[in-house]
C-alpha cells in the first residue's frame, strides 16, 4: 500500500467501499475538504440522506456543489453528457482540478446497475480530456457481489477509509474490459408480437407505433420509435445482414430487439460519448439511443450484435 500526495492536479478514477456512515464520512469528508481548501470545484451527486451527512461534517458546505437532481444518473450517456458540459464550463472558468463523487445506481441503492459497468469502464478514458478526480463510493453492505467485482475491474485504484490507496489488481483497461452479461427480460421468453426480416427503419417505427399505442406513455412510445429507428438504420448501415427486428409486448411493457450478424461497433465507447463532442457528429445513432429514457442495452454475442430497448412497467 502506498499513500498518494493529495491535492495534486491530475486525472484519477478511484473507488472506495464503506460499511457504515463513519466509513462513508472518512472516505468523502477529507476528499471534499482538501478540494475546497485548494480552491478546486467539488461536485457531489449523492441522495438527500448522504448529502445531509456530508453537509453536517463540512466546515463550509456552501463551497461544495451538491447536485440533488436525480436525473443526472438517469442513463450512463446522460451522466457523461451532463458532466461533460459541467467540466467544460469549470475548466473554461479556470479550474485546474475538479473533484467529483457520486452514487452510481445499483440494486442496493434502489437503482439498476445494468449499463453502468460500461460507464465505469468508459470514464477512465472519457475524462482524460478534463482534470477530473473522480471518487466512486459503494456501500459494500448493499452492493451485490457482481457490482463490487465490476467496480474492482473498472477503477485503477481503491481508496481505503484510512485514506490509504492500493491499486486494483483486477483492473482491466477499456479495450480489455468484459461487460456484464445483460439481465434477461422475462418478456423475451414469450413469442414476440411481431418479427420482421430485413425491415426498413420506417417499417419498424410504424410497427412499434401500432403495437405500442396505449401500452406505454406517449413520451415512452415516441422514444421507442426513435430508438428502434436508429437501431435499424445502424444495423443496415454498419452491421451485417440479415437484420431482424422483434417486438414483444405484455402488460404495459414493450421490448424491442434489433439484431444483425456482424460483430458490433469496434469502439468500446460506442454510444457513450456525446455526439455533439465529435465535430462531424459521427456515432450519433447509438448515442441517441442511450440518451432516451429507455432501458437500452448494446449486446455483443457469438451470433451478432443486438440493440435491446424496453419501456413501460418494470419486467
Amino acid at each position: 500500500m502506498k499513500e498518494e500526495p493529495s491535492g495534486r492536479p491530475g486525472r484519477f478514477h478511484e473507488a472506495g467501499f464503506y460499511r457504515s456512515d463513519a466509513e462513508f464520512a472518512a472516505l468523502i469528508v477529507p476528499f471534499a475538504e482538501e478540494g475546497v481548501a485548494a480552491g478546486q470545484p467539488v461536485i457531489i451527486g449523492y441522495d438527500e440522506r448522504k448529502a445531509g451527512l456530508l453537509r453536517a461534517r463540512l466546515h463550509d458546505p456552501d463551497a461544495v456543489t451538491f447536485i440533488a437532481d436525480g436525473s443526472l444518473y438517469a442513463t450512463p450517456a446522460r451522466a457523461i453528457a451532463s458532466y461533460w458540459r459541467l467540466f467544460e464550463r469549470l475548466t473554461a472558468a479556470g479550474a485546474i482540478q475538479i473533484r467529483i463523487a457520486g452514487d452510481v445506481p445499483h440494486e442496493g441503492n434502489g437503482g439498476r446497475f445494468a449499463g453502468w459497468d460500461r460507464y465505469e469502464s468508459a470514464v477512465n478514458t472519457v475524462w482524460d480530456r478534463f482534470p477530473v478526480w473522480s471518487r466512486c463510493l459503494y456501500d459494500a453492505t448493499t452492493a451485490a457481489p457482481r457490482v463490487l467485482e465490476t467496480v474492482a475491474r473498472t477503477h485503477p485504484r481503491i481508496v481505503l477509509p484510512s485514506g490509504q490507496y492500493r491499486s486494483s489488481r483486477r483492473y482491466q483497461d477499456l479495450a480489455d474490459f468484459d461487460p456484464l452479461p445483460p439481465d434477461p427480460d422475462p418478456l423475451e421468453r414469450s413469442a414476440p408480437a411481431i418479427e420482421m426480416s430485413d425491415p426498413s427503419a420506417a417499417q419498424v417505427r410504424h410497427a412499434v407505433t401500432s403495437i405500442g399505442r396505449g401500452q406505454v406513455s406517449d413520451t415512452a412510445l415516441e422514444e421507442l420509435v426513435m430508438g428502434a429507428g436508429e437501431a435499424v438504420s445502424n444495423a443496415r448501415l454498419h452491421g451485417r445482414p440479415p437484420v431482424t427486428a422483434r417486438i414483444w409486448t405484455a402488460s404495459r411493457r414493450i421490448l424491442i430487439r434489433v439484431h444483425d450478424t456482424g460483430p458490433g461497433p469496434a469502439d468500446p465507447l460506442a454510444g457513450l460519448v456525446p455526439a455533439w463532442a465529435r465535430p462531424d457528429l459521427r456515432g450519433a445513432g447509438l448515442w441517441l439511443i442511450q440518451m432516451l429514457g429507455l432501458d437500452a442495452a448494446l449486446i455483443r454475442s457469438r451470433d451478432g450484435f443486438t440493440v435491446r430497448l424496453a419501456a413501460g412497467s418494470p419486467a
Partner: protein, 230 residues
C-alpha cells in the same frame, strides 16, 4: 408470428420554393435512411450555389433520424462559415427532440412552435381566424392560428377587400399567428407593396421570430421597419 410486407409509408417528401434572398426547402413525411440520399443531394445542391441562407419549413416533417439531423447540422456549419445561417421552422415534437439532443441549436436557428396538425399528418385543416375592425386611423385586421394553402384564398380576399377601400393605412396584428406558409406571407408582402405604391402603408404588429425570418427570405423586412414606425 406475423410478418409485415414492405411498404412505402414514411417516405420523405422534399421541395424547394424560391425566395428573394435564398430558398425555402419544404420537408414533409419521415426523414431517415431511405430518404438520406435525397436530403443530402437536395442540401448539397443548395449549398453548391454559394448560398449563405437556407430556410427549411419542417412543419410537416413527422420524424427525422439522427443521420438526417446530422446532414442539417453540417449544412448549418457550412452556412455559418460563410457568414450565413440555416433556419428551421416549426419542427414537430419528435424532430425537436432529436435536434435538442444533438445540440443542433448551436448551428441551426430553430423558430416557431409545432403546427397543430394531427400526428398522423393525414388531415391538414387550417385554423386561420381573420377578424376585421375599424381602427383609429384605418382598418385593423387580426390574424390568428395557422395560415396555409387551405386559407390563402380567404386571406387574399380579405386583403383585397381592405385595399379596395379608401383607407391607406392597414394594421395587421399577427401576434397570435402561429404558422404561415410562403404563399400566405407573399400575400401579406404583396398587399404591403400595393399600399406603398398608393402612398399608404401596412403595419405588421408583433410578428413572431419565425415570421420575421420568412419576411427576410422574401426581402420584405421593410414591412417590419414600417411597423416599427407605426
Amino acid at each position: 408470428v406475423p410478418r409485415v410486407p414492405p411498404s412505402r409509408q414514411g417516405a420523405l417528401e422534399a421541395s424547394v420554393a424560391p425566395g428573394e434572398s435564398g430558398s425555402l426547402i419544404i420537408l414533409a413525411g419521415e426523414a431517415d435512411l431511405t430518404g438520406a440520399g435525397k436530403l443530402s443531394a437536395l442540401i448539397a445542391g443548395q449549398l453548391a450555389g454559394g448560398t449563405r441562407h437556407l430556410t427549411i419549413d419542417a412543419s410537416r416533417l413527422r420524424f427525422a433520424d439522427s443521420a438526417s439531423i446530422r446532414t442539417l447540422v453540417l449544412a448549418g456549419k457550412t452556412l455559418r462559415e460563410r457568414g450565413g445561417s440555416l433556419v428551421l421552422l416549426h419542427p414537430q415534437r419528435p424532430v425537436a427532440k432529436v435536434l435538442a439532443l444533438l445540440g443542433a441549436d448551436q448551428v441551426i436557428t430553430i423558430l416557431g412552435s409545432p403546427r397543430t396538425t394531427p400526428a398522423d399528418g393525414r388531415r391538414a385543416v387550417s385554423s386561420l381566424e381573420i377578424s376585421v375592425a375599424a381602427g383609429e386611423s384605418g382598418r385593423d385586421v387580426v390574424l390568428a392560428g395557422e395560415a396555409d394553402h387551405t386559407s390563402v384564398t380567404r386571406l387574399s380576399e380579405v386583403l383585397d377587400g381592405q385595399l379596395a377601400g379608401p383607407a391607406r393605412r392597414l394594421t395587421i396584428d399577427v401576434s397570435e399567428l402561429r404558422y404561415a406558409d410562403l404563399a400566405s406571407v407573399r400575400k401579406l408582402a404583396e398587399a404591403a407593396m400595393t399600399l406603398r405604391d398608393l402612398g399608404g402603408h401596412l403595419v405588421l404588429l408583433h410578428p413572431q421570430p419565425w415570421l420575421v425570418s420568412l419576411l427576410t427570405l422574401l426581402r420584405a423586412e421593410w414591412m417590419l421597419i414600417d411597423g416599427a414606425r407605426g
